[in-house]
């Protein structure tokens, strides 16, 4: 092995609130490799990367660059030393052009003004050099996610990044975009750049990385050459047990329709039809999955079926009751539950306790109060039961929910939404950013609800999840369903990708027949 380019030795990071995020972590990066850092959520990957990029300082331990000890007090220090980072949430200014974003903070000047044509030239030069083609004069807000990511990579390169940290870069990409990204990363590697690739998608890690460092609960579990380690072994080291990604789905008798969406159309502010004559029907004991690249109408579909969005035409009925214009409480009264995509803002009240979050959908019920006072001990019992059933890692029912890790937070949401015997459940990205163990638990819970006769609408960007769980799979593209599959688990991800990108589409008649509408 070549001499280490970057060496992080015995790194320990304790946050002011006492959380030990990294403990005696060792991480060594060889020049010119693509090195994966894999681990579940909360394993300490992000913390380690933040220290590598100067956003956090280690409590203990040292960082060496080419053998000499360095101190990184800010991202600026890291950038100066040739370390660049592509964040999971893009660090771009939407109203600026690509060129403006590129030079932000290091603007070329002409007199007192910015030399904009030089910025454009610089962008073009790097775009050509690294085969990352973007239009320098286009505003970033008009770019697709994949393009934005290219801008982010270029931004790091133009600042002289030799080591490039990519934080879950494929989480937001389509399979095709992912392939493209991989080609670009290989090109970067050829040009002598070193890449740190953070991911928990093993298939991708396997496809592109030379070595892998596995982390679990703040410690390094091992460093391996990619050829010498199997996916099963990585999984075992990551979660400490073998994760079965296949689910035993019992055959289910499908009952009468619960959700009926008829000819629903909605336009955006710009006048674009974000939902175009949508027809959808979900029956008791059925999971209908909706796949699609983000921003093709999925979130509007969710808003429509929870009654938040009024359509220009068409109707939404839950159990034969039209819900258009009803308030959320009445909609919930019909037996509708909702696991929202954004658990931080919509799914939970971050500063409230676990108990308060659990009780928030049902506290108005008579059984929960007496003479105007809450029955606190009964609520405690319920919360404790859920904590146990869902294996929520917490100090107790009264802990602030915002202190929990993402996965545990999501378990609380699922516990709350799934435990009211819903007739219809909307699960929007139920396991996004959640570790494998928690995801599995949530999946089992969804299947359990299914066998109890709940109708489930599952919207997910995780193809594995949606292909495994759905009884029927719909693909959304530009506000329409373009495909309907009766046996989702038999479709390949590549095939699905063609529909998601709008390259293929089925006949409308076939889709409707498939939907029994």
């Amino acid at each position: 092995m070549a001499e280490a380019l970057l060496d992080m030795r015995n790194i320990t990071k304790v946050y002011p609130n006492g959380v030990v995020a990294n403990q005696d972590v060792n991480f060594s990066l060889a020049e010119g490799e693509i090195h994966a850092v894999a681990g579940e959520n909360g394993a300490g990957k992000s913390t380690l990367m933040k220290m590598m990029f100067g956003m956090e300082e280690p409590s203990r331990g040292d960082i060496y660059l080419r053998g000499s000890k360095i101190r990184l007090n800010s991202p600026q220090d890291a950038i100066r030393m040739g370390i660049g980072m592509v964040h999971q949430h893009f660090m771009l200014v939407p109203s600026f052009t690509v060129a403006e974003n590129m030079v932000l903070g290091m603007e070329p000047r002409k007199g007192i003004a910015i030399n904009y044509s030089e910025a454009v030239r610089l962008t073009k030069e790097y775009a050509t050099k690294y085969n990352l083609h973007v239009d320098p004069t286009e505003k970033v807000e008009n770019l697709s996610v994949g393009m934005k990511q290219k801008v982010e990579i270029l931004k790091a390169l133009v600042r002289g990044a030799n080591i490039l940290i990519l934080d879950e870069p494929t989480a937001v990409l389509t399979p095709q975009e992912t392939d493209e990204l991989f080609d670009q990363l290989k090109l970067l590697k050829e040009k002598g750049h070193t890449i740190v690739f953070i991911s928990h998608k093993l298939k991708e890690v396997k496809a592109i990385c030379d070595r892998i460092t596995i982390m679990r609960s703040g410690r390094t579990e091992g460093v391996f050459d990619m050829q010498q380690v199997s996916e099963q072994e990585i999984t075992r080291l990551m979660v400490g047990r073998d994760v079965v990604l296949k689910y035993e789905k019992e055959a289910n008798s499908i009952g009468k329709p619960v959700l009926r969406v008829k000819d629903f159309t909605v336009c955006s502010k710009e006048g674009k039809r974000v939902l175009n004559h949508i027809q959808l029907s979900i029956s008791e004991g059925e999971i209908v999955g909706v796949a699609g690249v983000e921003g093709n109408g999925q979130s509007q579909l969710v808003d429509a079926v929870v009654g938040k969005l009024k359509g220009e035409s068409g109707s939404v009925e839950v159990g034969n009751v039209p819900i258009g214009g009803m308030d959320i409480e009445s909609v919930r009264g019909l037996g509708v539950s909702y696991i929202p995509e954004d658990r931080m803002r919509q799914g939970t009240a971050k500063e409230a306790s676990i108990l308060d979050n659990i009780i928030s959908t049902r506290f108005k019920g008579k059984e929960w109060s007496k003479l105007g006072f809450f029955k606190r001990s009964k609520m405690l019992e319920l919360t404790e039961e859920y904590i146990k059933k869902f294996q929520i890692k917490t100090s107790g029912p009264n802990q602030e929910i915002g202190m929990l890790s993402g996965g545990n937070m999501q378990k609380v949401v699922v516990a709350r939404e799934g435990s009211t015997e819903p007739k219809f459940l909307i699960a929007e990205q139920p396991t996004r950013g959640v570790d494998v163990g928690a995801a599995q638990l949530i999946h089992h819970n969804l299947l359990e609800l299914r066998s109890k006769g709940c109708a489930i609408l599952l919207i997910s960007a995780d193809l594995n999840e949606i292909l495994e769980l759905s009884d029927k799979l719909l693909v959304m593209y530009e506000g329409e369903f373009v495909a309907c599959f009766d046996h989702p688990s038999e479709i390949s991800e590549q095939e699905l990708g063609l529909y998601m990108l709008g390259i293929n589409r089925q006949e409308q008649g076939d889709i409707r027949r498939g939907m029994h509408v």
């Binding site: 800010s74 991202p75 600026q76 950038i79 980072m85 964040h87 949430h89 893009f90 660090m91 771009l92 200014v93 939407p94 109203s95 600026f96 403006e100 974003n101 932000l104 903070g105 290091m106 603007e107 000047r109 007192i112 003004a113 910015i114 931004k155 600042r159 336009c267 955006s268 502010k269 710009e270 006048g271 674009k272 039809r273 220009e312």
Partner: protein, 310 residues
């Protein structure tokens, strides 16, 4: 009604629009800069008031109007610096910080005035100086246009120049780009190594500088003395002008003139037999109406797009 138009359609009226727009425009430009950096400077009113007093005091004691202007600017920047120090350094809530600045200025100016002159109302006992007005050669001889454009206070011309400078600064300079980046996506700015706090400091101090010029104009041009609460809500009107101007330099300048027009109208109408109390509400009613019309047009536009058949 005839009288009404006789008042409006005069060169004197057009001249007075420019005259009364000056302080609003200065303050609105101040609001613009800090807003673009993500900080709503609601301390504008207090900053203007402080500067108005500083200008009078310093010019009276030094005998120079220009030194007075410098003092006014210094006073305004100092107040803005105080606001920046507390909100950026000690994370005081922006609104609370702004309220504190305004309350401090409202009481503090009267206190200082009383200490130095023994008068709680005006600075009439001080022989403070006034900045000059400028006749523009050639232009001043053009009929109609000459009397409107020429002969204004030096700060009135400076306010127009300031609008152009701010436009250029925000649009074309590295500082402007960084200010806008900080205001729009603070994490993006941070991640490329921009010193966010420094940029916000600069934006707030510049904001204070422009507001202070507006304040100086009040007591060294518009009037030739300081009176208590003489800014009379112009700082707030400036905030409204900035948001109605959709946080752009051009929009802010145009709406500032709109509010200036309303103010001038209220001054002019006092010549007619309409109750003075009613007339003095005109600029404020105009502010409210302006915001109402603005939001109606925005939501109309949105609805139109929503309903556009495809």
């Amino acid at each position: 009604m005839h009288d009404f138009f006789a008042v409006i359609l005069t060169t004197d009226f057009a001249y007075s629009v420019l005259r009364v727009t000056t302080p609003i425009l200065f303050a609105a430009l101040g609001a613009l800069i800090s807003n673009r950096a993500g900080i709503v400077n609601i301390g504008l009113e207090g900053i203007m008031l402080t500067s108005a007093l500083m200008g009078v005091l310093i010019s009276a004691y030094t005998g120079s109007a220009w030194v007075g202007l410098l003092g006014a600017a210094l006073g305004g920047v100092l107040m803005a610096g105080m606001l920046a120090f507390f909100t950026l350094q000690f994370k005081t809530h922006l609104i609370l910080g702004g309220i504190a600045i305004n309350a401090f200025a409202a009481g503090g100016t009267i206190f200082v005035l009383y200490m130095l002159t023994g008068d709680k109302g005006t600075s009439s006992s001080l022989s403070s100086k006034v900045l000059p007005s400028i006749d523009i050669p050639l232009i001043k001889d053009i009929p109609v246009l000459g009397p409107i454009i020429s002969g204004h206070h030096v700060l009135t011309y400076m306010s127009i120049i300031a609008a152009i400078v701010v436009y250029y600064m925000l649009k074309r300079t590295p500082l402007g780009l960084q200010i806008r980046a900080v205001g729009e996506n603070i994490h993006a700015a941070e991640s490329v190594g921009i010193k966010v706090k420094k940029v916000q400091y600069i934006a707030l101090l510049l904001s204070g500088l422009f507001a202070s010029l507006g304040g100086a104009y009040m007591s060294m041009g518009y009037l030739s003395l300081f009176t208590r609460n003489m800014t009379a809500g112009r700082g707030w009107i400036a905030l409204a002008a900035e948001s109605m101007g959709r946080s752009t330099a051009v929009g802010t300048t145009v709406t500032s003139f709109l509010f200036g027009f309303a103010q001038a109208l209220s001054n002019a109408l006092q010549l007619l037999k309409i109750p003075a109390e009613l007339i003095s509400t005109v600029p404020y009613v105009a502010t409210v109406l302006g915001l109402v019309f603005y939001s109606i047009s925005v939501s109309r536009k949105a609805n139109k797009l929503m309903n556009k058949p495809k």
